[in-house]
């Protein structure tokens, strides 16, 4: 299992459009990818799940990936987050 923590810096938080980008990226990998925020953990491949967390600016989220391509999955998701959401 691979895990990485990010801080959201985008003003709108994880809103609908960035969430779509995230979910589409996660969907490209075979590994199970999950995101947790505030003690709740959801599948990063499910758009309604991700949006239901209501992640605001300044939040700390952690992404975990488990499976054959977990390394790639974390890197891929990390790229999207760094480009659109935070660090």
């Amino acid at each position: 299992m691979k895990e990485q923590t990010f801080t959201i810096t985008a003003d709108t938080g994880v809103h609908a459009r960035p969430a779509t980008l995230l979910v589409n990226k996660a969907g490209q990998y075979e590994s199970d990818v999950e995101v947790s925020y505030n003690g709740k953990s959801v599948n990063l491949k499910s758009i309604m799940g991700v949006m239901s967390l209501g992640i605001p600016k300044g939040a700390e989220i952690s992404v975990t990936a488990t499976g054959g391509d977990e390394e790639d999955a974390i890197n891929g998701v990390s790229e999207v987050i760094k480009e659109h959401l935070g660090e």
């Binding site: 609908a16 300044g58 939040a59």
Partner: protein, 311 residues
């Protein structure tokens, strides 16, 4: 494009042929109509002679006030060799001099019992429809809850099968396989079936079936305004499909942009239900209820609240 001749007007409207019957095969080349008021005064410099001419009460009253010599001169100039016809409204009597000139130059004079403005608008509508820009598209047109949905997609993707399922669910088939589309005004597309294949559906393995005889007159319509396009395509793993419905994609047919959704096809997906819901959702959006936008606003509120809680 079908040609319009003066005799088509006789067949479609309540008009009587008064004179110039040798000219009823003349072609009407434009949907514009001219009211030769200024020409009656003798000014023919910009006379649009190729148009249908319409003489109302005012023009006729002025004409009758002219001297006989002037009258003769005006009607001779009005009746050119390409003028498709002269329509006289309000059932007015037509002076001998006009009839003689029309007979001589074979320009048909048609009389209508109706008022000038009504005649203009009806003739314009008729001619505009005949001269409307026209195209044909490979697809299926179905009326779903009153929304004209054009289903497009490659051959074999399941357009006709989906149409059959929609008809079975109580919706109406307009055209299968080839949809003839004409543009009315600047923003309206009307689709209909080519006459030869009207009411017919081709289903692989069954052949040609007649939807009207099988399902009844309620299962078909002859034409329908096209409000949205559903594009079916085989599910592509690498392609990103719309997840939110916040953005409206469009497709341009002639000058009109029509909202378009792309729906990926995969075994086990019930396309008829999805398309039915797409049509209902389209109606709902036009009535001002947009689920995706409402959700987006709710999400904004929630994120704001979370942020406040954190600070």
């Amino acid at each position: 494009m079908a040609m319009v001749r003066t005799k088509d007007l006789l067949e479609n409207f309540n008009l009587t042929l008064v004179a110039g019957k040798d000219g009823i095969h003349r072609e009407i080349i434009t949907s514009d109509i001219s009211r030769p008021g200024i020409e009656m005064t003798g000014y023919f410099k910009y006379y649009p002679k190729e148009r249908l001419q319409l003489i109302g009460k005012t023009e006729m009253a002025y004409f009758l006030d002219l001297t006989f010599q002037e009258q003769k001169d005006r009607v001779e100039k009005l009746c050119t060799d390409i003028t498709p016809g002269i329509v006289v409204t309000r059932g007015m009597d037509i002076p001998e001099v006009m009839i003689d000139a029309a007979n001589e130059s074979a320009v048909p004079i048609l009389r209508s019992p109706r008022k000038t403005t009504r005649v203009i608008s009806r003739l314009t509508n008729f001619l505009e429809a005949r001269y409307a820009p026209f195209t044909a598209i490979h697809g299926v047109l179905v009326d779903i809850y009153g929304v004209g949905v054009l289903i497009t997609g490659q051959s074999g993707v399941g357009k006709s099968e989906t149409a059959l399922e929609l008809v079975k669910r109580g919706h109406r088939l307009v055209a299968d396989d080839s949809v003839e589309i004409r543009q009315e005004d600047y923003d309206t597309l009307i689709g209909n079936s080519p006459p030869l294949i009207e009411h017919l559906l081709e289903i692989r393995g069954l052949g040609i079936i007649n939807v009207m005889t099988l399902f009844g007159a309620g299962a078909v319509r002859s034409y329908k305004k096209i409000s949205m396009i559903i594009n079916l395509e085989i599910w592509d793993q690498k392609k990103q499909y719309d997840r939110l419905g916040l953005d409206e994609d469009t497709m341009k047919i002639m000058d009109v942009h029509v909202p378009k959704s792309t729906i990926p096809v995969r075994p086990g997906r019930n396309l008829a239900v999805i398309i039915e819901v797409a049509a209902m959702n389209f109606r709902l959006k036009r009535m001002g209820v947009n689920a995706a936008e409402e959700f987006s606003e709710r999400l904004t509120t929630m994120i704001e609240q979370e942020k406040d809680d954190m600070e």
